[in-house]
């Protein structure tokens, strides 16, 4: 049975069964504080929070709703209040003398609702004079809620499938993976007359490839673009049949899950004697992979984004481009997980400038971009679509509209799904949401190949 009446999203039955949730929440809080490093930021944040309200002006949700509960600082205070009351000496003393705040079931429900109204995009962090990372607080709050089973069902089901089921979040079995790879190879041959391969279980490859596994179902052109780039650059790469999913919803609700999923990625690289992790077009998969050194030590395999790889190869002259460029106007959406900290912002732009005639920026962009509205795993929660594309996605829709772009490039599986829904629900019918490699694929010169290989009507090009 789905329980949606109590929260905006479905949860499993057991989430509502516990009668002592406040006690279990505090027990989990104490244990997490003991073993993690969250004590340091919580302790400092409780002391210095200035309540200046600058974060409100940065938040796309607050810009839309104007509701107090959507102010990032207000949301963080929900958790900081619990920390201050139960885990600081001053708070405990104050409670004994003056009573005051007590954690209740109703308060936990407020937490469960509030922390899934935040996409943890961390835009507000840039505007906080005190450097408070509200995304970090959301991240921790969701883990605490998960330990009392308050997890959106969509996220839990995916992680269950990944860790205890078929082995990936889309439940794609290995034979289906092989069939899909073969189909994509045939498509590349038919459309582009190129013999690019999707190598499977090749030991000793430089790169082991981890796309968002949903790409195998939904983003054929992105994957074909990936394979085409590896083909023309002579890249040594493979897909591993024991783990071919870069998705890590642990990042969105539980460090316990995140640790297991990241270790599984590194384990597959070691099994295949690979040297590096090549992450497909996916923001959170890339950011999760950047945690490999955290969980797997300094000898962990290096992490490379497929966009970093492609740009490096393009610079080195190993990817030859046709004279024709993409004619239609193109804009680029920065996925928060790779752009907010400024780690990947320029490579995709350089590639787009090289292959598009009319590239325009969204304003603001790069580290100050607006979230697609489906970050923090909320894109997987179908039952909150009206929220995601309405109050949460409206700002993004306005940004896209202002560019007048035909192609909206979003190198992230989650962003792509969300942005397609944002466009559908906000009257942006002429915008086509694509991956970076989708466009790159259209203009790669495979060596004497006829440009008629491009699907008719899919991309206008000029000479």
């Amino acid at each position: 049975m789905n329980h949606r009446t109590r929260y905006s999203y479905y949860v499993e039955e057991r989430a509502l069964q516990g009668t002592d949730r406040p006690r279990r929440f505090l027990q989990a809080f104490a244990v997490i504080l003991e073993h993690s490093n969250y004590g340091l930021p919580l302790e400092v944040y409780t002391r210095i929070s200035a309540k200046c309200n600058r974060c409100a002006s940065a938040c796309q949700l607050y810009q839309s709703t104007g509701e107090d509960r959507d102010i990032p600082c207000h949301r963080s205070e929900l958790l900081l209040r619990i920390y201050r009351r139960y885990f600081t000496r001053a708070g405990v003393l104050q409670a004994r003398l003056l009573r005051g705040f007590t954690l209740t079931d109703a308060y936990l429900d407020e937490l469960a609702e509030s922390y899934y109204r935040c996409t943890a995009c961390r835009r507000c962090k840039l505007t906080c004079p005190m450097g408070i990372d509200h995304g970090l607080v959301t991240h921790l709050a969701r883990w605490l809620l998960a330990e009392i089973d308050l997890i959106p069902k969509a996220l839990l089901v995916s992680v269950r499938e990944q860790l205890e089921g078929v082995g990936n979040t889309s439940a794609i079995p290995v034979p289906a993976l092989r069939d899909t790879c073969q189909f994509l190879e045939e498509e590349l041959q038919d459309l582009f007359h190129v013999g690019a391969k999707f190598p499977v279980d090749v030991e000793g490859s430089e790169f082991v490839f981890f796309p968002a596994v949903s790409d195998f179902l939904l983003e054929a052109e992105t994957l074909m673009g990936n394979a085409a780039v590896m083909h023309v650059t002579g890249g040594s790469w493979t897909i591993g049949t024991h783990n071919y999913d870069g998705i890590n919803y642990g990042l969105f609700y539980s460090d316990r899950m995140m640790e297991r999923i990241v270790r599984n990625v590194a384990r597959e690289v070691r099994r295949l004697k690979g040297r590096k992790i090549l992450v497909g077009e996916c923001g959170h998969a890339t950011r999760s992979a950047w945690f490999v050194p955290t969980f797997c030590g300094p000898d962990a395999p290096e992490v490379v984004s497929c966009m970093q790889y492609a740009w490096k190869q393009l610079q080195a002259g190993k990817i030859l481009l046709k004279d024709e460029k993409i004619l239609e106007r193109v804009t680029y959406h920065d996925p928060c997980n790779i752009a907010r900290a400024g780690r990947i912002t320029e490579e995709p732009r350089e590639i787009l400038k090289a292959i598009c005639r009319d590239f325009v920026e969204m304003i603001p962009n790069r580290t100050r971009n607006y979230c697609c509205g489906g970050g923090g795993g909320t894109v997987s929660i179908d039952e909150i679509r009206a929220f995601r594309t309405g109050p949460m996605g409206r700002r993004k829709a306005d940004q896209i509209r202002q560019t007048g772009a035909h192609y909206l490039v979003a190198p992230c599986a989650n962003c792509k799904k969300q942005l397609r829904e944002v466009c559908q629900d906000n009257g942006l019918d002429n915008v086509q949401v694509v991956g970076l490699h989708d466009l790159l694929l259209k203009v790669i010169d495979f060596g004497g190949q006829d440009a008629s290989g491009i699907p008719a009507g899919d991309a206008a090009t000029e000479s």
Binding site: A28, Y38, L40, R47, K51, N53, R54, L163, F295, A341
Partner: protein, 233 residues
């Protein structure tokens, strides 16, 4: 009254000043201790120090920050400049330090100090008014958020009247006593309220960065402690 003034600038000042210094040192020491413990436990010890330093400097000299909430930002920046410069660089204060400890440093002219004092007073008032005027800040604010700018304004207002006896409708000693005691109160409040950011500010960006540097096995240990290790999801 003279006895009260002597007490305020004697034992009361020494207590408040010592309380402030030791209080801030305690905050710094605790933060440093917690930070080093977190760093030792972290699986990935590489910190983007250059980025953190740039971000810290960006907020120490927050010119870029005027893009958002310009009026509030200007108010806040002017307020901070005034409250930092006047107490430390007033010639009268430096003379007192020189007499007591032998240390002295360059002063701002009394004219500049006067202007900055008036700026501090108006900006303190403006901060409270702006806090009251916006729904979002009203929703966030605690009593200390309204009280602190006004408490900070007290030593400035009384100090201004001490410096300008012709404008002072009260007795000099009473105003002098109020000036010293409000400053003493402020020194008690600095380590016990959000004003502690005066000392912690240079560490804040680093602390947030460290928040993402986790122990490699924190998740597993939490699972074991909660009896969930091996339990199906």
């Amino acid at each position: 009254m003279e006895h009260l003034v002597a007490w305020a600038r004697g034992p009361a000042f020494i207590f408040s000043f010592t309380f402030m210094v030791l209080g801030l040192l305690r905050h710094l020491a605790l933060t440093f201790w917690q930070f080093s413990r977190a760093w030792r436990k972290a699986g990935d010890k590489s910190l983007p120090l250059k980025k953190v330093a740039l971000e810290t400097l960006r907020w120490m000299f927050p010119v870029n920050c005027l893009r958002e909430q310009a009026l509030f930002s200007v108010t806040s920046i002017l307020f901070h400049i005034a409250v930092l410069v006047v107490p430390v660089f007033l010639a009268g204060h430096i003379a007192l330090w020189a007499r007591g400890s032998g240390w002295s440093w360059p002063a701002v002219s009394n004219g500049v100090a006067d202007v900055l004092t008036i700026v501090a007073l108006f900006m303190a008032l403006a901060l409270v008014v702006q806090r009251l005027a916006a729904q979002a800040t009203r929703a966030l604010s605690r009593p200390q958020d309204y009280a602190l700018p006004l408490i900070i304004a007290l030593p400035f207002a009384s100090g201004f009247l001490v410096m300008h006896p012709a404008l002072n409708p009260f007795s000099f000693d009473a105003m002098f006593f109020l000036h010293i005691m409000s400053a003493n109160l402020l020194m008690i409040l600095i380590p016990t309220t959000k004003l502690v950011h005066a000392a912690l500010f240079p560490d804040l960006q680093l602390v947030s960065e460290m928040g993402w540097h986790w122990p490699p096995d924190a998740g597993s240990k939490v699972g074991i402690s909660l009896g969930k290790e091996g339990v199906r999801l």
